[in-house]
């Protein structure tokens, strides 16, 4: 059992005195699929930024894939993100005018792989998210759900230790949203560790573990035992 994320007493205060996170403890083990759920302004995105090393806490410690984030320079943090973390955003952030395949390959640009290999892996990742027939479509030629699947392919193409998704269904209709959530379940079934941020209790309830936060504090950390996807047991390490 390996710990992917280890947060101890993490506090984040923004300049101006807003304490977005107040003493958060969070452990995520390899292979988990969890929801970070809470109302608007509760600190979910802030938590995702700190877990994803895009921002540093004002107090407390963050360890990612065994690395103590506080000890790493900005350069090494970049390398850590390139190798160990994949991000999915509510608004996709695809590069306009560039084919789906090249958008996915961009996810490997900072990995040091050769261009041909990046493109080869991008094709495989696109097939994995069910868009094998949309390789050469550009973002404006894809539906919202398809765009988010391209973004997910970009996030997983480097096989990160942790996939962080901030409101991945926030910009989608319910059918596309369900398809995206199904894809995340499938990827988790293949072994990916995934944290999904959402304010939607329904989406959170369908995941094996829910971390509820309110006013910058974890108020509940629970496991839902059902329904388990076929093909094995999903680990759950809720602290409650």
């Amino acid at each position: 059992m390996t710990t992917v994320v280890e947060l101890n007493q993490v506090t984040k205060e923004y300049p101006g005195g807003v304490a977005a996170l107040r003493g958060v403890d969070l452990h995520i083990e390899r292979g988990e699929l969890l929801a970070i759920v809470g109302p608007s302004g509760s600190g979910k995105s802030t938590l995702l930024h700190i877990v994803g090393t895009l921002d540093r806490p004002t107090a407390g410690t963050v360890a990612l894939a065994g690395h103590d984030v506080a000890a790493l320079s900005d350069r090494r943090l970049s390398a850590l993100r390139a190798r160990h973390i994949g991000f999915v955003f509510q608004s996709f952030h695809l590069v306009a005018g560039v084919s789906a395949r090249d958008n996915v390959a961009e996810g490997l640009l900072y990995s040091g792989l050769a261009r041909a290999e990046r493109r080869r892996r991008a094709a495989t990742a696109l097939e994995r998210v069910g868009l094998g027939d949309r390789m050469h479509h550009r973002p404006h030629e894809l539906s919202g759900g398809q765009r988010q699947r391209v973004a997910i392919a970009r996030a997983v193409v480097g096989e990160p230790d942790l996939l962080l998704a901030d409101e991945p269904t926030g910009a989608l209709d319910s059918a596309s949203g369900e398809a995206v959530m199904q894809l995340l379940h499938d990827l988790n079934g293949d072994g990916a560790t995934i944290a999904v941020i959402t304010h939607d209790g329904g989406i959170a309830g369908a995941l094996p573990r829910q971390v509820r936060i309110r006013d910058g504090q974890v108020v509940e950390d629970t496991c839902t035992r059902a329904p388990l996807p076929a093909g094995g047991e999903v680990p759950c390490h809720a602290t409650d």
Binding site: S78, A79, A82, R83, F89, S91, E106, L109
Partner: protein, 399 residues
């Protein structure tokens, strides 16, 4: 604790260019407009330098065909009388015996003037003169006949005349066979010469045979200009002997000049380009650089999300900086390339219309490119640094 050292991977040159050009590819119109300033600046500078280089090349080419091995002998002021000295009649023959001399030609001024007909007053010379010419003159000048023939033993005895190119034009004579009035006698035009850049005084002369000038025009037989061609290597040694050989008694009365020296001096001034125009090009270049910087700042503002995304994908600050500096370099480099092409084309049009060779000095092209690259990196540096400093969380914020 993990073993991996977490060193960021390097971007290969190809990836750097790819990432740096992505922003340009998505906005071609903006690229064209912001590269235009640089293009105009470089084009102006290349054209200014190219046009003067072409003029110079033409003069040098002319010098090459005309040769720099001709010296001209003329009488100076007589020291005592203060009047124009006379060159001895036998001077051309003596000069021909100096070692290294290949051709000697002579002309002698005569009093009468040349007119188209009696209807034109005698005083109206149109700036033309009448000269007795030795048969060897044309060869010494490396001149050519445009129409008709040159003077020779046979026609040199009769009242026949060969006109220099300017003389023919001013007299309104285009074909041989017509007659002109010299003094009181009509002479038949038997030939018209091509231009003689080394001897403009011959271009403005009506040339009569040495003998005929004596018979019909009271020519005293004293040459007033002697043109001498030697081998290239003996020009200096001939120059030293020329005055004493021409007039052994009064060598101080002899003036020696090198007509090609004037052309050489002209070539040197043509090579000096118009610094005012060059300065204008520099100003355009500067304005172009400001335009590129402006475009880059806008590009960074617009692409906040992309910057945040790249940071989340693992780009270091340095890699973001490189991306935008590359973009700026490509932008100004494109402008520079277009400018070189435009400037070269403008020079070509100018050179072709003036019958000049097309010359663009390589240092001008190299200097132009160096200037664009400098402008590109300076203009891109500040926006690139700003892009790299952008906190990733801020860059990813919606809106």
């Amino acid at each position: 604790m993990p073993r991996d050292r977490l060193t960021p991977a390097r971007l290969g040159p190809r990836d750097v260019v790819h990432v740096g050009s992505a922003g340009l590819r998505s906005r071609p119109m903006r690229v064209v407009l912001s590269a235009l300033g640089i293009a105009i600046g470089i084009a102006t500078m290349i054209a200014v330098v190219g046009i003067s280089a072409s003029s110079k090349a033409q003069l040098l080419q002319q010098l090459d065909t005309l040769g720099t091995n001709m010296l001209k002998v003329a009488p100076g002021q007589d020291m005592f009388s203060g009047e124009k000295a006379k060159l001895p009649k036998e001077a051309p023959g003596m000069i021909g015996r100096i070692p290294g001399v290949e051709d000697v030609g002579a002309v002698g001024d005569v009093k009468p003037t040349v007119r188209r007909s009696e209807k034109i007053p005698k005083s109206d010379t149109s700036g033309l003169s009448v000269k007795a010419a030795s048969e060897s003159l044309l060869k010494a000048l490396r001149g050519t006949v445009r129409a008709g023939t040159w003077l020779n033993d046979a026609n040199g005895r009769y009242p026949s005349v060969v006109l220099g190119s300017v003389a023919a034009e001013r007299l309104g004579i285009t074909v041989p066979g017509q007659q002109v009035l010299i003094g009181k006698q009509y002479f038949t035009v038997i030939g018209i010469l091509d231009p003689l850049p080394l001897a403009p005084e011959i271009e403005r002369a009506a040339l009569v045979g040495w003998q005929a000038a004596g018979t019909h025009l009271d020519f005293d037989g004293h040459p007033t200009q002697i043109y001498e061609r030697s081998t290239d290597t003996s020009v200096e040694s001939v120059h030293k002997l020329l005055a004493r050989t021409t007039d052994p008694q009064n060598p101080q009365n002899v003036e020696i000049s090198n007509p090609s020296a004037t052309l050489q001096a002209k070539a040197a001034t043509e090579g000096a380009f118009d610094s005012l125009l060059l300065g204008l090009g520099g100003v355009a270049l500067l304005v172009g650089g400001v335009g590129v910087a402006n475009t880059m700042i806008i590009s960074v503002l617009e692409r906040r999300h992309e910057i945040g995304l790249r940071r989340s994908l693992g780009a270091t600050r340095g890699q973001i900086r490189i991306q935008f500096v590359t973009e700026s370099l490509l932008l100004s480099g494109l402008g520079g390339l277009a400018g070189v092409v435009l400037g070269a084309a403008a020079t070509y049009v100018f050179a072709a219309s003036g019958g000049m060779p097309w010359a663009i000095p390589p240092w001008a092209v190299g200097g132009g490119f160096a200037a664009t690259l400098l402008i590109g990196s300076v203009a891109g540096l500040y926006p690139a640094v700003r892009a790299a400093r952008l906190p990733p969380t801020l860059a990813l914020q919606a809106g």
